[in-house]
Symmetry: C2
Subunit: 348 residues, 2 copies
């Protein structure tokens, strides 16, 4: 019964399974260190569309279709869909997921959306509100640059601290134990479950540089990870990996230092999806990858297989978001951050 843990965490007594997942990536993502693990990599970043926003919608549609195909489930079996993206009014989601006709909870948590959505979907499955639920998030380099910074044609120079928005989408199917046991087709490898979550607060350290998102998000990541460890009374070493979403190299350094100031050392087991998905030196991606797609693709393509194989037993997945818009940025507002932590463990 004791589901509420500490001040802002939940422990699921009926922990949902990640039944299946799928990832889509763009050309650059395909050329990166985990490119060979991404399910489908596009030849260009248009994915057969005329507009960048439509291309991003296509990424979401294909990622969910692929996850359903792998799992052998149909849209009508999915009770609720939790999804979001970075674009104004989350249009990549609205137009990408329209055709599935699945009841939809639209989510906005900037680049933390994968963490927020996995959290909400886990809550629903663990509570018995859904036997099967889906999570989809995406980002696209070109639609994000257009939305937040400059038109691509302007070819602006990028500071080294800037991150590179990942073109990609990840989709996840979450189910309860009953649903899994009843299926003829079992997922390969070990069962992987979401056993708890820590929902983050907005944290504002006064960063105003939209070209340095790592610095904007690191304080929120530190706050969420610190709260998580405190709520669960765990040491960082409980986890094989603590994996933030898209802090990049600059944000990673700040995160580790902020936690060290609070006597928590994650330097030994921290990594960041933005550092896994690109080789910054080889690929010219500045501080690392970013976007709602960054953490979702890296979790699906790179970390879930390691959990299925048993190479990893327990991870803390912490997607990080920078809360800004073109308007708030132009009006001189700060860029506050938010992060949401998800505990993912492999069975047996």
């Amino acid at each position: 019964m004791d589901q509420q843990v500490g001040k802002q965490s939940l422990r699921f007594t009926k922990a949902p399974f990640i039944l299946e997942s799928a990832s889509m990536g763009g050309k650059k993502e395909g050329e990166g260190p985990i490119g060979h693990q991404i399910d489908v990599v596009g030849e260009d970043d248009r994915f057969g569309c005329d507009k960048w926003e439509e291309a991003e919608s296509t990424l979401q549609k294909e990622a969910l279709t692929l996850a359903m195909g792998k799992a052998g489930v149909k849209p009508e079996q999915i009770r609720y869909l939790y999804a979001g993206d970075l674009l104004g009014q989350t249009i990549a989601t609205s137009f990408g997921l329209l055709d599935f006709e699945i009841p939809l909870f639209g989510v906005y948590g900037a680049c933390s959306t994968a963490g927020e959505s996995l959290g909400l979907a886990s809550m629903a499955v663990a509570a018995g509100y859904a036997d099967l639920a889906a999570v989809v998030t995406s980002s696209h380099f070109a639609s994000a640059e257009k939305q937040f910074r400059f038109p691509l044609e302007y070819a602006n120079q990028r500071p080294l601290c800037s991150t590179w928005t990942v073109t990609g989408s990840g989709a996840f199917l979450l189910c309860n134990e009953d649903f899994l046991r009843k299926r003829e087709k079992k997922p390969q490898g070990r069962g992987v479950r979401i056993t708890g979550i820590t929902t983050g607060k907005i944290v504002d350290y006064g960063v105003r540089d939209s070209m340095n998102m790592g610095a904007a998000m690191a304080p929120a990541a530190a706050d969420c990870i610190y709260s998580h460890l405190k709520d669960f009374q765990r040491d960082p070493s409980y986890y094989d990996k603590i994996i933030t979403g898209d802090l990049g190299a600059v944000g990673q350094e700040i995160l580790i230092e902020l936690l060290r100031q609070r006597n928590v050392d994650i330097s030994g087991n921290h990594t960041d999806c933005g550092l896994e998905i690109f080789d910054n030196e080889e690929q010219g991606t500045g501080s690392g990858g970013s976007g709602c797609g960054c953490s979702a693709v890296t979790l699906s393509a790179h970390f879930l297989p390691k959990l299925r194989s048993g190479e990893l037993k327990r991870i803390l997945f912490v997607p990080t978001g920078a809360l800004l818009s073109k308007i708030s940025f132009n009006e001189g507002q700060n860029v506050p951050g938010i992060a949401h932590a998800v505990v993912i463990e492999s069975e047996g």
Copy 2:
């Protein structure tokens, strides 16, 4: 145990209470038919701010502060906050709710956000994930016109079918029975509970006119209400009122006709928050009020008191959203709709 009802609905066995709520409105809202019921009405629509977006953030901050004040609760007692607005990257929410330091689930459902957020918060409280949770949504006429249509200075003419974005915010505190019983301060009047929800799907009838949102949203409202009645095997007469969010006069007519074609007659007990909040003829508000604030303010100021007094026993509250952005509109995309239904009942 049987919480899942039909294809897309939930019945809460431990139905959460609406502990308290509060509403903020602009000048025009204050002059409308329910103006005297809104908790705080601004003298102008700036609420002491220089920018429209900041004014909207202030509306959210004040609405939540007011609801907490009425209930005598502190931010640290609120376990989770579910909130959203219409602006790109939901900045009214990010900057309005930052200071409360409450773990936040950011939500985007266009003008259906109040329904989606109340649904998610109810799910959390009913499942035992939170003893007390909060919901906040807002909209602002000036920030929305700037975001979706034309600068106000342009003074464009508006067709009669267009709706008028409500300047306002509503905040709701949801709690479980234990939390309510333990309090010394009881809410006045009868207990009001959220006993079920029906989560909507995106519905696209091909409407492309961003000046006729009622027509864009009516098909989604019809689909959600039809599914709700089917899932719960209820007749429309089960409800004293079926209350959509912001269809306005044009959308109302379409909704009633669409349901009539499916042999469901809601003409006797349907109303729309957009028709309650403004007197279209007197106030020149076209087809009626709209926005995330419209349904939230009208529920808090007008309908909840009627449920507390027993004048209404059961309502179906169905906020409606039009899924568009400046970009999707300019790129010639349709305006699909979504709607989320919440069953609200008074005790005894």
